[in-house]
Structures are given as C-alpha cells and as structure tokens.
Amino acid sequence: MHSDRASWALRLAAIGGLLFLHLPILLIFLYAFTTEERTYAFPPPGLTTEWFAAAWNRPDIWEALSLSLKVATVATALAMVLGTLVSAAMARATFFGRDQISLLIILPIALPGVITGMSLRSAFGIMDIPFSTLTIILGHATFCIVIVYNNAVARFRRLSGGVLEASADLGANAFQTFWHILLPNLGTALLAGGMLAFALSFDEVIVTTFTAGQQATLPIWMLEELIRPRQRPVTNVVALIVFAATFLPILLAYYLTRNGSETAGSGK
C-alpha cells in the first residue's frame, strides 16, 4: 500500500542532513568568544568577550565595513531599479527575443563568479579603467539584478491583470495605477528582493577580488586573514558580524514574502 509515513531511515537521513547544514555555522558563535589566540583549538580553553572590544577599536575593520555597506547599498539600489523594470517588461508581454533576454539576466549568476570577475577585469584592462569603488559596484549590481528580478517577476505573475484594468476603468492614469495599485502589491516582493541582493553583495568575494584593486571590502579583509591568519580572534568576531549582516536581511526577506498568497486579485 502507498504509505504517507516516512521510514525511520529516511527521516534520520533528512534530519541529519539539515543538522549538517546548520551545525558548522553555530561553531562561529563559540569561536568568537574563545580565549585561544594562536590556534583553532577545540574545545576553547576559556571564554571571553575581549575580542569584540579589540575588533571595535580596529580602524581597518571599520574602513572595510563602511566600504562594504556603501557598495551593497548602491548596488542594491541600482539592481532594484533595473530588476523591477525588466520584470515589469517580462511578466506579461511576449515578444521576440524574450527567452534570450531571460537567459541574459540569469547568466551573471549561472556562470561561475570567476568568469564574471575575469570578464570585468579584462574589460577594465582593455579600456584602462582604474579600480575604484565604482568598479566594485558595477560588478555587484550586475549579479544583483537577477535576485530582484526573480522576486518581482513571481509577484507580477500572481498579480491579477484585472486590478490594473479596474484601475484604468475607474479613470486612473498609468502613474496613479503604478503608485496606488502596482507598488503596494509589489512592495514586499521588491523589499525582499532588495534584502537578498544586499546580503549577496555584502558577502560577495569572488567577483570583488577582480574588481577591487587595492581596496578591501569586509569579505576581502576576511579572505586575507583566512589565507594568512595573523589575528585569529578578531577574525572570529568579523566572521560573526558578516554572518549577522547577511542572516538578518535573509530572515526579513523570508517573512516579507511568506504570505505571498495575499496578493490582490489572486483569490479568484
């Protein structure tokens, strides 16, 4: 008979798999408090909060953090505008070259980051563009577009065309419809897309190493510490900060899109 209950082996494998996905990250929390300075010894010989103060007093960490925030903010803003525009165009219309355009949007994250990075590096090389904050943003915005697009296009598809027609029938012009009907319905999806794009940009390291030159975002600072560990305890704290800065937007994005079924006009 077809059974609706999972076997014990399957349940064990599934829950074991979930634990495998989560336990390693928890270790970061423990190590941020360790008193051990020179090795990654487990279990930590003692616990202390002094490394948080040490990290707080480090100008290089603040500099990297502020660069990361700046890049992530600008890249997210750019991606939100471009991603919304392209999702509005792609959601309803069918036109020549539509499939090619959707491939073009996905390509920056479908191809390995090293290719996007190396491509930008080649282009900057050929055109003699010096590395700057702008070159980092250029790369980040490119792969963030698809994140916003994915969120927005899903909501556009669920949004019934009827509400837009009703708005027009009631005498609203295109801008009033956009402001009063479209935006409130898209709002949470756009915000969620923006949150995810921010998290992705804040954490990105592969493309950034090719476009940053001498500048260090927080992930690049961390990467240098990983390759040549010099100050392990402070790095542990930075890891915790980077984790929090990406984790919170993701959680927020989840709660924003969880009740996606409440979109206007979808109850029909």
């Binding site: 209950r5 999972a6 990654y40 073009l104 980051g113 915005a141 990983l226 993701i250």
Partner: protein, 310 residues
C-alpha cells in the same frame, strides 16, 4: 462644444499613448536594464574573449594586442592540462556527493513534511543557501583544523585510528583534514548542497500522488515504486541541481586556496595568472574553458528536460 472632462494632464496623455502603443511602454521599461547588461556584462564577456586571443611578450611581460592562438596552445601544456582535469574530477565528485546527501532531505521535504515542518525544512535549506559563503568556509576551516573539533571528537570517542587511516589514504589523504582533498571535497559539498536540494525538491513535489497510488495498487513494493516511478521523475531536478554544483565548483578558487594541499584548480589559475603573474591573456583563456564546458552541459541538461525543474 465645451469639454465636460477636466483638461488632460501630461500623465493622462502619456497613459493614452501607452494604451495606444503598448510596445512603446515595453521598450521604455526594458531599455535601461538591457543597456546595463548588454554593455557591462556582455561587453565584459567580449573583452574576455578578446583578451584570450591576445598573447604576452615573454621578455617584457606586456600584452601584445594581436590575434593569435598561441595562448590557447599553452593550455595544452601538461601542467595546465592537469589543472583542468583535476577541476573537472572534483566538480563531478562534489556533484555526486551533493546528490546523494541532498536527496533524502529533498525527498522528505517534498513528500512528508507538513505544516510547521514544511516551514522548518524551507528555512533550513534557504538560510544556509543565502548565508555568507566566506563565513561557511571559515567555519569549516575551524572544523577541519588539526587541533579542531573533528580531531577532538575522534579522540573523545577513541576513533583516532579511523581518522588517521582515512588521512593516510594515498592521493586524497594528507597531513590533516584541512590540507587534504577529502577536506576540500567536504567543504565544497557543504557549501553547494542547498543548490542541489532546491531543484530536486521542486521536481519531487511535482510527482503526482496518484501515480504512487497506482504503482502501489499494481503491486509494486516501496523500493520498486521508488526506482521505477519517483527516481525517473526526479531526474530532471537532479540534473538541474547538478548544473549549479558543477558550475560553482568549477569556478571556485577560494576553497582550494584555503582548504587542501594547494594543488591548482581552474579558478585559482585564473586568479593567480591575472594577479601576481600579470598574464591576462592566459588567465582569460583559462576562464573560457568553464564557459565552454557549461555551454555543453546546459545543452545536454536542456535535452533531458532539466529546465522545467528550475
């Protein structure tokens, strides 16, 4: 005749224009993003291709901007050929590992998780997918270190012998887990696992319950139903997931740099050649390889119906 309606504003006139010519609105919407992606992304890809056909002057180290196939010929040198082969082998192994480890999670989440557990599984897969890549790699550096938690656990459970036996395996072993291929494989599997689970789960969710009932009614055992009904229907999802795991492993250069025995991989070769070596043409040629491999891979995946599972 005097107008009863109020005078038309610019916004109203534009609305009428958009209504009459829907194509115009479409063009207005799509031009800025297309311009961005076309210039920044496609332009860069074109630059990459161009650079890969340039060569480098061996004495001055300057890039010679003239068309040549010399740089591609260099890829066939044994040491470069080794790098490509090693990367492909690791990508295949990681893909297989992710499929085996991810299947039970996807299967349980798709078929048996209900209500609150459904949300737990959803978040449980999404959070690791999105959370910081570098922090995840860092966590594994802590775990795999010689003085780390695995060695400690092995000692605590008196299984150090097993750990040492695994580490002394020829080829894939090493001094400690964090300097061996085994460690690198583990980190790769961990980091890309959610990318495999999601498409698998999506395709498993689309398997109609009626088919499973029909299979059971016709007398199939659980194992038979699994083998002949569920697995074939889930295959497009597995292939879709493998696109991600394969492509991401192939292009990664952070993990082989931090974990492992510093053997070279395609991504690392690209990074080192463009940076310290300053040989942008050869770096570009190296970067073209994953593109070609992924194009072939995507073509095969499309023929096997994997895109419907995305």
């Amino acid at each position: 005749m005097t107008a009863i309606l109020p005078a038309k504003s610019v916004a109203d006139r534009l609305t009428t224009l958009f209504w009459r010519k829907p194509k115009l609105l479409l063009i207005l919407l799509i031009t800025p993003p297309l311009l961005w992606l076309g210039v920044v992304y496609l332009g860069s890809l074109a630059a990459l291709l161009m650079q890969s056909f340039y060569s480098i002057d061996e004495f001055s180290g300057m890039v010679i901007p003239e068309f040549t196939l010399k740089t591609y010929a260099e890829l066939l040198r044994p040491q470069n050929y080794d790098v490509i082969f090693r990367t492909l082998l690791m990508s295949a192994a990681v893909t297989l590992g992710c499929a085996i480890l991810g299947f039970p999670i996807a299967y349980y989440a798709a078929r048996f998780a209900r209500g609150r557990w459904k949300a737990v599984f959803y978040l449980g897969i999404m959070l690791p997918l999105w959370s910081s890549y570098l922090v995840k790699v860092y966590a594994w550096k802590l775990i795999l270190a010689k003085e780390g938690i695995i060695t400690w656990a092995a000692e605590a459970t008196h299984t150090s012998g097993i750990l040492n036996a695994i580490l002394s395996l020829p080829g894939i072993g090493g001094g400690s887990l964090s300097t061996s291929y085994i460690g690198m494989f583990l980190v790769f599997v961990y980091v890309w696992l959610p990318y495999m689970i999601l498409p698998m789960q999506a395709s498993l969710e689309r398997v109609p319950t009626s088919m499973l009932e029909a299979s059971a009614d016709l007398g199939a055992t659980r194992a038979q139903t699994f083998r002949t009904v569920i697995l074939p229907l889930a295959l497009p999802g597995v292939i879709a997931g493998s696109i991600f795991t394969f492509s991401l492993t192939m292009g990664d250069y952070i993990i082989p740099q931090i974990v492992g025995n510093s053997a070279n991989f395609i991504g690392m070769a690209v990074y080192q050649l463009q940076g310290t070596a300053g040989n942008i043409p050869l770096a570009a040629a190296f970067a073209v390889i994953p593109i070609l491999i992924m194009l072939v891979y995507l073509w095969i995946a499309k023929r096997m119906g994997a895109f419907d599972a995305l």
